[in-house]
Amino acid sequence: MGRSETAKQTNLLQGTLDLLVLKALMLGELHGLGISRRIEQMTHGTFQVKPGSLFPALHRMEEAGWLKAVWGESENNRKAKYYKLTKAGERQLGTETEEWVKIAAAMASALRAV
């Protein structure tokens, strides 16, 4: 029972998380921790993405062909995997942004209605 509820939550968040990751990578390549920090910064701390959610998403998006990963060195000379957007990822960012804006507007107007 507990399992199915968690599943529902992730589903709900999945689209949001993907969009945030794509957006975080818009300016250039980042490693996992960097992406997590960037999202936190972009959302003024509202979303703190745990590695347990972030990494599966990154791998999934890489498999979907939106992200491309290269191994590099971190700021403090640690081996790190850097992710960057592919062309498909940029397109995906465009469509998802559009959709999200539409949904957000719809939700806002729905909630304003009396």
Binding site: H31, P51, G52, P56, E63, A64, N76, K81
Partner: protein, 917 residues
């Protein structure tokens, strides 16, 4: 491309698993290290920093697992894991696996073998283009045969009228003009012709076909060309032949020199112009046509086909051609049928006997995808019964397996509970258990396919009545494979459900404790109940199969003891079949007289007779019967007739009850006489003496009335089951020119001993005279019970298998029950129960299960028996002796199977059992 990327990662995940794993490890490790570095830089001590970093990440292993679960192909990967795990579990109990795979393999193999044949009998169509657009033309009439001489089969309709697929050539020509009713009209006739290739003569199956047949059916040549319309322009204008693939291989070794070769068919030279497509063997379902010739060659190749007329092409009185039509897609069957019917009646009615009832004489369209189809009628019922029996055996094997798996699942409850406790999901466990079942099913299916393939020729061999068996060519094709695959999958799901359900019960049921506690919880008791239910089902299924076996075995025995009305021992039968070209008036009769004389003179031959048809298993020969002076019945039912030689009654051992048999005074030119059988006497002369009465019959056989000179005892006629039909015996010399005849020699010793002498005599009389269908009368009688014999053998085999499986089931469930109740039995014994009481307690449980199974099974058997009652002889499906006998047998077997576990229970040492608890 996103899809490409996904496929690439799927491949990578599956095949470069180690590389992917180590990359993931590096990545997650790198994350922890980065975090730690940051904290150390901020002044936290390393140990502390590392711990905080790990907490923040949420555990390396957990993150990695989360990534793995989201990977492409995760389903495949775990399936593969399940399969490997299942395989290990099966290999850990090889005895169980062997029993399971073997019983499944036998069940699936039996079904595969039977389906292979049934497919041919029930579902296959002719190997031609768009077979579903074909219709077979048929005519129907009342009881009275309105069409005079039919060369071909005349059968009965459901309403008691007659039906046949044979038409006259003038009717064919009239139908051909109705071109807007159909696309193509294909005429054909199967005959046997002596074919001489390079001086070697043999009788071959030949099909006369209209010139358009090959193009209309879309049958292509393998070599040379097929027949075409220009070969079929008129009598004798197309002396060409197309040979079948089989004949090409058999006689010419697939040499291309066959095309262009001249062979002789009944002595007429004919040029082979081509070889037909590989699978095409004529328009009769299951037929084995070797040579195709244009239908207009009939006057040359089969000149004396019917009585005296040479050519049937212009003869409106000869009905002999089968006609297939290819329908136009836009014309409805009803319309085409009406148009063709009108055309047939317009052409046929003026030449038919106006005294007969012609109102019911009509043309009908019947499905033609299977061409001329005798297979279905002959083998459909046995095929259904065999499929049902094989299906029951398979269900039984499934139930048995379910039971074994259930007991095993019980033994594995601790393992499964452990896996639940370690966090395995419900679906994952369910999938694991089902995977194991399907793995077993796949192994059983593979074995079954092998058994089915090895046994593919067994059933056709059993069913075959003679060497020209039409069923011998059964194809083992993809449909059979698909059938076997589907059956295996179905069985796997069927017997996999029980253990899967049982596994679900294990969840959180606390079975990590000892599994044999005296106070076993409710859920496991449910499991035992399911097991017992399955045993009852097994016993019930066994009862059905055993009752079937009992009924069919007794049917066979009853048929073996059936009163034939003549002596079947010491009789040698063979057929002489003079080539149709030997046709000079009186010449054939002279030949038969000579044969009669010389065969009787063979040492060891007491007497001999010749008959149109042999007494048992040689078919029917209908005739009209009208007693002189009585009013002519409109649409009278036909009776049976047989043309026989003088010594018939003595040779067969049939007693003459009144009057006399045929004697020396009866000759070809003396007054026409007949002997009738008892049934005919009873039916037509209930209160008077038939001897001396006269009657007339089909005018084409006898132009004048016949006088009844005697009454002979009844005999079985076409088969052992049917009531004796009213029959009259005519003296063969007094009829119009005799055709082929069956010779019967009454011998002093084993009939086979005179065979070579008989062959020599026949060769001496005419060295071109083929001698066929050689067998003893006892073999001939036996052949008519082929189906019954197969049923008796197969049902006995299936019944035996069922008994073994049910015994295993009872033993298994009782052994499990006793093991589970060891503690409880220990307490009972500690409280004073004697060993005998414990034994009785266990056996009581066995006997009520057996009794329940027997009651259900026998009840079902009585219900199902009604479906096969037409196949039984001399007993009813509810035969009380069979039913009680089988019931008693099953209960005894059940008690024997339960005895082992019961004695183990009785030997339980209370001290040990309680200490164990």
């Amino acid at each position: 491309m996103a899809i490409l990327a996904q496929v690439r990662s799927l491949m990578r995940n599956l095949f470069l698993q180690q590389h992917v794993e180590s990359a993931l490890h590096d990545e997650v490790r790198g994350l922890v290290e980065m975090l730690t570095d940051e904290k150390v830089a901020a002044g936290v001590a390393f140990e502390q920093a590392r711990r905080e970093a790990l907490m923040e990440v949420g555990g390396e292993t957990q993150v990695k697992q989360a990534v793995r679960d989201g990977r492409a192909g995760i389903g495949l990967e775990t399936v593969w894991q399940d399969v490997r795990y299942g395989w290990r579990m099966l290999m850990r109990s090889p005895a169980f696996t062997a029993v399971a795979v073997l019983s499944l393999g036998l069940g699936i193999g039996a079904n595969t073998a039977i389906f292979t044949v049934a497919k041919k009998v029930l579902y296959d169509t002719l190997p031609v283009k768009e077979p579903d657009a074909l219709r077979m033309l048929t005519w129907v009439s009342g009881h009275e045969q309105v069409v005079p001489p039919v060369w071909g089969d005349v059968g009965g309709t459901e309403s008691g009228g007659l039906r046949s697929n044979s038409f006259s050539y003038p009717v064919l020509e009239a139908l051909r003009k109705q071109t807007d009713a159909f696309e193509e009209l294909i005429a054909f006739k199967d005959v046997e012709i002596t074919a001489t290739v390079d001086g070697v003569a043999a009788i071959e199956a030949v099909e006369l076909v209209s010139g358009n047949a090959f193009s209309a059916l879309g049958v292509e040549p393998q070599a040379g060309r097929v027949l075409q319309a220009s070969d079929d322009l008129g009598s004798g204008k197309g002396p060409v032949a197309v040979i079948s693939d089989g004949y090409w291989m058999r006689r010419f070794g697939r040499s291309h020199e066959a095309v262009g070769k001249v062979i002789a068919l009944n002595g007429v030279p004919v040029t082979i112009v081509g070889v037909s497509a590989r699978r095409f063997a004529g328009l009769q379902m299951g037929g084995t046509t070797q040579i195709f010739v244009p239908v207009t060659m009939q006057p040359q190749l089969v000149p004396s086909a019917q009585g005296g007329t040479t050519s049937l092409l212009g003869n409106p009185q000869s009905w002999w051609l089968g006609i297939l039509t290819r329908m136009r897609p836009e014309v409805s069957d009803t319309r085409a049928e009406a148009e063709l019917d009108t055309a047939m009646r317009q052409t046929a009615i003026p030449v038919l006997d106006p005294t007969k009832d012609l109102s019911g004489f009509h043309l009908k369209l019947e499905p033609g995808a299977r061409g001329l189809d005798y297979l279905h009628g002959t083998y459909a019922e046995p095929s259904y019964v065999l499929m049902a029996l094989a299906g029951l055996v398979l269900v039984l094997a499934c139930v048995n397996l379910a039971n074994l798996l259930l007991a095993r699942a019980a033994a594995r409850q601790r393992e499964i509970s452990t896996r639940f406790a370690l966090g395995a999901g419900r679906t994952r466990i369910l999938r694991q258990v089902l995977t194991e079942s399907l793995l077993l099913a796949a192994l059983g299916g593979a074995l079954g396919l092998a058994i089915g393939y090895a046994a593919r020729g067994v059933l056709p061999g059993l069913l075959a009545r003679d060497e020209n068996a039409t069923l011998l060519q059964v194809a083992f094709d993809w449909r059979v494979m698909a059938f076997t695959g589907a059956v295996a999958l179905g069985t796997g799901l069927l017997f996999g459900l029980a253990p899967a359900w049982q596994a679900m019960l294990s969840e959180s049921s606390g079975t990590l404790k000892d599994g044999t506690s005296a106070t076993g919880d409710k859920r496991r008791k449910q499991g035992v109940w399911v097991g017992k239910g399955l045993v009852i089902v097994q016993i019930a299924l066994s009862a059905i199969l055993l009752v079937g076996a009992g009924l069919f075995v007794q049917t066979l025995q009853n048929l073996g003891h059936a009163e034939l009305g003549f002596r079947q021992d010491h009789l040698l039968l063979f057929r002489v079949n003079p080539p149709r070209t030997v046709q000079v008036d009186g010449q054939r009769l002279a030949m038969y007289r000579q044969l009669e004389e010389k065969l009787s003179a063979i040492p060891g031959v007491k007497s001999m007779t010749m008959t149109d048809i042999a007494l048992i298993g040689d078919g029917n020969s209908g005739a009209t019967f009208h007693v002189t002076g009585r009013p002519r019945e409109k649409d009278a039912r036909r009776i049976q007739t047989n043309g026989v030689s003088r010594e018939f009654f003595q040779t067969m051992g049939i007693s003459i009850l009144r009057g006399r048999g045929f004697e020396m005074q009866d000759t070809a030119t003396s007054p026409k006489v007949a002997v009738i059988n008892q049934t005919l006497a009873r039916k037509y002369f209930p209160n008077e003496d038939p001897v001396g009465k006269t009657f007339d019959t089909d005018p084409e056989d006898f132009a004048m009335p016949l006088t009844i000179i005697g009454v002979a005892a009844d005999t079985k006629h076409a088969d052992l089951r049917s009531e004796t039909p009213p029959t009259f015996y005519a003296f063969y010399e007094q009829r119009s020119e005799p055709g082929r005849m069956m010779v019967a020699l009454r011998t002093e010793q084993d009939p086979v001993t005179v065979l070579s002498a008989a062959r020599a005599v026949v060769a001496e009389v005419d060295h071109d005279l083929p001698l066929t269908d050689v067998r003893t009368m006892q073999d001939q009688v036996k052949l008519t019970t082929t189906n019954e014999r197969i049923f008796a053998q197969l049902t006995s085999g299936f019944g035996g298998l069922a008994l073994v499986l049910a015994s295993i089931g009872i033993y298994g469930i009782m052994a499990y029950t006793v093991a589970r109740r060891t503690g409880e039995i220990g307490i009972r014994m500690a409280l004073g129960a004697r060993a005998g009481q414990v034994l009785g307690m266990v056996l009581r449980e066995v006997s009520w299960m057996a009794l329940a199974g027997v009651v259900v099974g026998v009840g079902a058997a009585v219900g199902l028996g009604r479906l096969v009652s037409s196949m039984l002889y001399g007993l009813k499906p509810s035969d009380p002796l069979t039913l009680t006998g089988i019931g008693a047998l099953l209960i005894v077997i059940a008690l024997l199977a339960g005895l082992g576990p019961a004695r183990r229970a009785a030997r339980i040492d209370p001290m040990q059992a309680l200490r164990h608890e």
